[in-house]
């Protein structure tokens, strides 16, 4: 068991729509009957208005619990996930305290069983207190339910510790999930090094701060013959390094985020802290490289890096604001609007990279649309337009890069593990 949520009764219902599931080579109009949470019948129907797809999986969510329950809780975060079409999410361990022991993880699992609306998994820290020095007790953590190991929020600075983490994690049989940042190059950095940061006088965070660490970690993974997952890639140099490594057989997977796929550092000109992320928004060539890699599968995962921050902490000048934006409730619509509608990415590929892609990368159960499978379904209205409003989030935080923007494509219903967790927006 790696995913946990509160108990509830499985639902029975019937859905009709254009079923799009690239992993199953499905794209046709079907009626899906769900009986007691299990898909019991699938039959053809005439054309339909909505799209039905395997529900989404987000492997990169900050639920801020324990420690910052004012920003997000298991309850609010999973309600946001449900509204975003997700049937499973993975929470990051950079909490207070850090999830670096079985006791902290065990308490979280209990909370998830009491509060989580959507099945939730937990990553544990690579190193104790995420200090990058001593390894966490990976085997005990894996037994207690850790899906993977990460020091997300900070890099494993020492190459020696990184190498040992790769070696030792084999015992736990869990992948390492890496935040690649060379702190000597990113220190004092607030925005991508380039024309925008130069003009605004913001401390530069160059692409090499990411790509150098990506290269190091891929080299170590190759030498140790261990798998790894690269989080939130932002720079084209990182994508190039990943592609080269995969070609020679390194077992590396990678994710990128909706904001890195949709925006460039031009957005930072507003000095709005809702455009401050780590890694930072980069240039147009980087964005093109990310989109290309998402299309060809070099990057197989879209992850939100949903990072809630209290309003008063973002209501400060750019350089004083924390990094990060929320994304669970807007991920599909933002990518549909910015990438699919303009023809940059096919709907099938987007849906695959938000569902099967992440499930496979993290060895989670794949949401599938077939008779006998637990129902993990998202129903999407591609014609619906809606405006992102500060008071419209289920998340406790509202630090979205999309405030005020009108998006196309809306989650109508989400079914997670056989239960309707999002019955539609009544607001």
């Amino acid at each position: 068991m790696m995913l946990f949520c509160r108990n509830g009764k499985s639902d029975s219902l019937t859905l009709e729509g254009r079923v799009v599931a690239a992993a199953q080579a499905l794209d046709e109009c079907l009626r899906i009957t769900v009986t007691d949470g299990v898909i019991s019948a699938i039959e053809p129907v005439a054309a339909s208005k909505v799209v039905i797809a395997p529900a989404f999986v987000d492997p990169h969510v900050h639920l801020r619990t324990p420690g910052r329950e004012d920003e997000e809780t298991l309850r609010s975060g999973t309600e946001a996930a449900a509204a975003g079409g997700y049937c499973a999410i993975l929470a990051m361990p950079n909490t207070d305290p850090v999830v670096d022991s079985a006791s902290v993880l065990g308490a979280l699992v209990e909370r998830a069983r009491a509060e989580a609306l959507v099945p939730t998994g937990f990553m544990a820290a690579i190193s104790k207190r995420q200090e990058g020095e001593e390894l966490s007790e990976m085997v005990e953590l894996a037994v207690a339910g850790a899906v993977a190991f990460t020091d997300d929020g900070r890099p494993v600075v020492s190459a020696g510790v990184m190498r040992r983490a790769l070696q030792y994690s084999a015992l736990a049989d869990r992948p390492l999930v890496l935040h690649c940042e060379e702190p000597a190059l990113s220190r004092g950095g607030h925005a991508h090094e380039g024309e925008v940061s130069a003009e605004l006088g913001l401390g530069p965070y160059p692409s090499t701060a990411e790509s150098l660490m990506v290269e190091r970690d891929l080299a170590l993974a190759a030498a140790e013959e261990r798998p790894l997952h690269l989080m939130h890639l932002s720079a084209r140099e990182s994508v190039d390094a990943l592609r080269r490594a995969v070609e020679v057989g390194v077992a590396a997977t990678a994710e990128t985020t909706p904001h890195h796929l949709c925006l460039t550092d031009e957005a930072v000109r507003s000095l709005d802290p809702n455009f401050k992320m780590n890694p930072p928004l980069r240039g147009d060539a980087d964005r093109r490289a990310l989109r290309h890699a998402l299309r060809d599968g070099t990057i197989g995962v879209v992850a939100t890096d949903h990072a809630p921050h209290a309003r008063h902490e973002k209501d400060v000048p750019f350089e004083e604001a924390p990094f990060g934006v929320i994304g669970l409730e807007t991920a599909f619509a933002s990518l549909y609007t910015h990438l699919v509608v303009p023809g940059e990415l096919s709907l099938e590929t987007l849906l695959e990279r938000m569902s099967t892609g992440p499930a496979r990368a993290f060895r989670l159960p794949e949401p599938r649309i077939e008779v006998g499978a637990r129902a993990n379904l998202v129903v999407l209205d591609l014609e619906a337009e809606w405006q992102v409003a500060e008071d419209g989030f289920r998340s406790l935080s509202a630090n979205s890069w999309l405030l005020g923007e009108t998006l196309r494509g809306k989650v109508v219903t989400t079914i997670a593990d056989g239960r309707v967790v999002f019955p539609g927006d009544e607001r």
Binding site: E195, G201, L271, H312, P317, F318, E319
Partner: protein
């Protein structure tokens, strides 16, 4: 009873040189020249902004910017008050937002903001109804410095159009350089940024200037604008140049590096013997004190420009109550 004030002008704030047009710049400089004439009179005060309130909110230390904003407001008969971060509620951890809202409760007409972070004045402008003037935000902008530099240059050389200004020194950490390059571009002058590669941010040429790491390139300019080399940039592990000694040898403005006919400017405070040789600082070519004087009239003009739309009155002494 306060006199009837003219309607609010269309331009609400002075946050960045980017917000200005050439007409705006020329109008502000023209007004500054008229105001300068009034300063030659025995009674130096104008009644223009009587009943108005100007608040200076300074989160960084400052001598000339704060002094000249205070004096500028007083010379225009505005009520003025200055709040520094030390000795105020900021010391007790009050946020910029709460401090701004507190000040806004007193209904100031203008809030002049200096802050170590880029965009802070923009936030104050969003949170309050006051006109906001950026008196320096992070390494981003210092628009009144750029305007006063244009004023001092035009007074000294009689023109701005076609001038070539070499800006020498720590460009990376300089809001003065960023504002000045944009302001020079607006009035038809051009600039070359000269600095060691470690102090020249990649992409800075997008501001509309040339870049160079060769001090010899300053010789072609009409003006050598020297930036302050900040000692705090030399902290161990963070050093951008190997030593001040080598920096001075390569980029220090010595008499030998000033061509006859060139003028030299510096926004202050100067590090004599580091970025500027004292013989240059004290020479006829130096416009440093002209810049300070220009600071007063240009800041008077900026306050005037934000708060009135009527032409500058002929300089008349205010009646003494």
């Amino acid at each position: 009873m306060p006199e009837l004030l003219p309607p609010a002008p269309p331009r609400r704030h002075l946050l960045s040189v980017r917000d200005l047009t050439r007409d705006d710049v020329e109008r502000i400089l023209e007004t500054a020249r008229s105001l300068a004439a009034s300063l030659d009179r025995e009674v130096k005060k104008l009644p223009t902004l009587r009943g108005r309130t100007v608040v200076n909110l300074f989160y960084e230390s400052s001598t000339r910017t704060l002094a000249s904003f205070e004096l500028a407001a007083k010379r225009l008969s505005a009520d003025t008050m200055s709040l520094r971060s030390s000795g105020s509620s900021v010391d007790k951890g009050e946020s910029l937002k709460d401090t701004a809202l507190t000040l806004a409760a007193y209904d100031p007409d203008v809030i002049v903001v200096r802050h170590p972070a880029a965009g802070a004045p923009h936030l104050v402008a969003r949170w309050t109804d006051a006109h906001v003037v950026n008196a320096g935000d992070g390494k981003h902008q210092h628009p009144t410095q750029a305007l006063l530099d244009l004023y001092a240059l035009e007074e000294a050389l009689g023109r701005l159009e076609g001038l070539h200004v070499a800006i020498v020194g720590d460009v990376l950490h300089s809001r003065v350089a960023r504002s000045l390059v944009q302001a020079l571009g607006l009035v038809g002058a051009h600039s070359t940024l000269i600095a060691p590669p470690t102090l020249l941010p990649p992409g800075i040429e997008a501001l509309g200037c040339e870049v160079s790491s060769d001090i010899e390139d300053a010789a072609a300019a009409d003006v050598v604008y020297v930036l302050r080399m900040q000692q705090e940039r030399m902290a161990a592990g963070e050093a951008f140049v190997p030593s001040l000694r080598e920096y001075t040898a390569l980029y220090g403005i010595t008499p030998e590096r000033v061509r006859p006919g060139q003028v030299v400017m510096h926004p202050g405070p100067m590090n004599r013997g580091v970025e500027i040789d004292p013989r240059v600082a004290d020479s006829e070519a130096a416009l440093v004190t002209d810049q300070v004087r220009a600071g007063l009239v240009v800041r008077m003009s900026v306050l005037y420009d934000l708060l009135t739309t009527t032409p500058v009155p002929a300089p008349v002494a205010v009646e003494v109550a």
